[in-house]
């Protein structure tokens, strides 16, 4: 009986302790990582993506416009 409770207490102390140690380290690692990334790799990928998707969006718009122009033409006749 006693051993069960002491096991539970142990689990709580070491468990909570470990969770805090782990997440504290994660805070530290994450902060460092963010600083390094923002210093050495300031947003290159996002810009590429914006560039990459822009023409496609334009293409879609063109297509849409073409369809609509045709439709509106038809409607006006």
């Amino acid at each position: 009986m006693d051993s069960l409770v002491s096991e539970g207490l142990n689990l709580m102390v070491y468990g909570m302790g470990f969770v805090f140690v782990f997440l504290t380290l994660l805070v530290f690692v994450t902060t460092m990582m963010s600083k390094l990334v923002n210093k050495f790799f300031p947003e290159p990928i996002v810009e590429q993506k914006a560039k990459a998707s822009a023409p496609q969006a334009a293409a879609n718009n063109d297509e849409l416009l073409a369809v609509m122009t045709a439709a509106v033409h038809k409607y006006r006749k």
Binding site: V19, F22, M33, P42
Partner: protein, 433 residues
């Protein structure tokens, strides 16, 4: 005439037990909660339906070949089973007891005897073996959840990880409660059981199912039902605790807008987390590894078709089998037990303590830093229950200050809570697994 009698004696209505009637009612109640009250329907619909199927008399859908053989109790089969299990008694209960406690090779021998006698595993038992006993279903769900999770708010304000850590106190306090109840002789939980029950406080379905399947499979049904039901009840459980522990002025605290987080940071985060897990807690590697893998697929931007599948077709397929498999643990002989009541009680306590710990941690952080950087209402989101708990933080915040949108701020501790309870799970598996 004899055939009619045979049909009648094999019918459910002739064989049904009070326990099965009760459990079918429980299954229907879960369906009601899921469909009418919108309680985590994606899980509770399959769980509830699986629970009903598991309690169909004589069908034995939730039982293994050996359990089915014992149920029909032909003397020569019992004899052979007892021999394969190295016991002398042919009492069905003693055979089942020996079977459930047997090591894998004896288990295999008994299964062969049952198969030779013409018995086979029930459908739901097979689903459970493949999906849960192997550990794969919760891991794939976790991968899908990873692929759905945006760590942006957490990366913009990494300190909110402390809130996700604090809220795990609910887990460990509940473990203590469970062993305490056992020490007082009220319940009868081992420390493994207690650990599995505690994880309900993590407010994370797949983590709870994964831990329960490893530490206390016989309690899995009750633990999963409690975990998902209480997650659905978060909007009712949390607000009173949050209001009681905060002042009006604290609830009005406005938080700074979150900084923009770059794509590269988001890609690096799951990798950094995986390596930290690898270095510190290998026992959490399957859970957090699959979670990080899902998130990396989401953020890396070059495997969108895999990420889409992980978030849709794959997680849906796995959810169907996971739910039905959990339902298989709602068979009357496993669920109707004083322990289930204890689990339901301890589970809600776990949610409450976790909520309180998160809120109090936020207040402590404000005090330590000597400022008002954190609205303590976001602390409660540290229990996980993504994204319900974050929405609750937002709602209570808006009540106090209609201009104060806490949702994005609460998403940080919210996802931190997922990591926190996976770490807690790893510690428990390490210590008592």
């Amino acid at each position: 005439m004899e055939k009619i009698l045979q049909l009648w004696e094999a019918s459910g209505i002739y064989n049904i037990s009070a326990g099965q009637v009760t459990m079918i009612a429980v299954g229907l109640f879960l369906l009601f909660l899921a469909i009418r009250k919108n309680f985590e329907p994606l899980l509770l619909v399959p769980i509830g339906f699986g629970g009903i199927m598991a309690n169909i008399p004589e069908a034995g859908l939730a039982f293994s070949a050996v359990e089915n053989a014992v149920h029909f109790a032909k003397p020569e089969v019992l004899q052979a089973l007892a021999a394969s299990l190295n016991i002398t008694s042919v009492d069905p209960n003693e055979i089942l007891h020996a079977y459930h406690g047997s090591n894998p090779s004896t288990h295999h021998a008994a299964t062969m005897v049952a198969a030779d006698s013409g018995y086979s595993n029930g459908m739901l038992y097979n689903f459970y073996s493949v999906a849960i006993a192997s550990g794969v279903a919760p891991l794939l769900i976790f991968m899908g959840v990873g692929a759905m999770t945006d760590f942006g708010p957490l990366l913009a304000n990494p300190k909110t990880l402390f809130l996700g850590a604090a809220a795990q106190f609910g887990i460990f306090a509940t473990v203590l409660g469970a062993v305490g109840l056992s020490a007082m002789g009220i319940m009868d939980f081992t420390v493994q059981d207690a650990a599995a029950i505690g994880i309900i406080g993590g407010a994370d379905g797949p983590t709870a199912i994964y831990v329960a399947s490893m530490l206390a499979p016989q309690l899995l049904g009750a633990i999963a039902v409690a975990a998902y039901s209480y997650m659905a009840l978060v909007p009712m459980i949390q607000p009173p605790i949050m209001r009681a522990l905060t002042s009006e002025s604290e609830r009005k605290i406005a938080m700074h807008q979150l900084r923009h987080v770059s794509k590269t940071e988001k890609i690096m985060f799951p990798i950094a987390l995986l390596i930290l897990v690898a270095l510190l807690l290998p026992d959490a590697a399957p859970l957090l590894g699959m979670f990080c893998f899902g998130n990396l697929m989401r953020e890396c931007g070059v495997v969108d078709r895999l990420s889409d599948t992980a978030q849709n077709a794959l997680i849906n397929i796995v959810t169907i089998f996971l739910g039905l498999s959990v339902g298989s643990k709602l068979s009357a002989d496993k669920f109707l037990d004083l322990n289930t009541l204890g689990i339901l009680l301890l589970g809600i306590v776990a949610f409450g303590i976790g909520t309180a710990a998160g809120v109090l941690m936020a207040k402590l952080m404000n005090k330590l830093e000597g400022g008002n950087a954190i609205n303590p209402l976001i602390g409660s989101a540290g229990v996980s229950a993504v994204p319900m708990a974050a929405r609750v933080s937002n709602k209570i915040g808006l009540e106090a200050n209609p201009q104060n949108f806490l949702l994005m701020h609460a998403m940080g501790p919210n996802v931190a809570g997922v990591i926190g309870s996976a770490v807690a799970a790893g510690v428990m598996i390490k210590f008592v697994g």
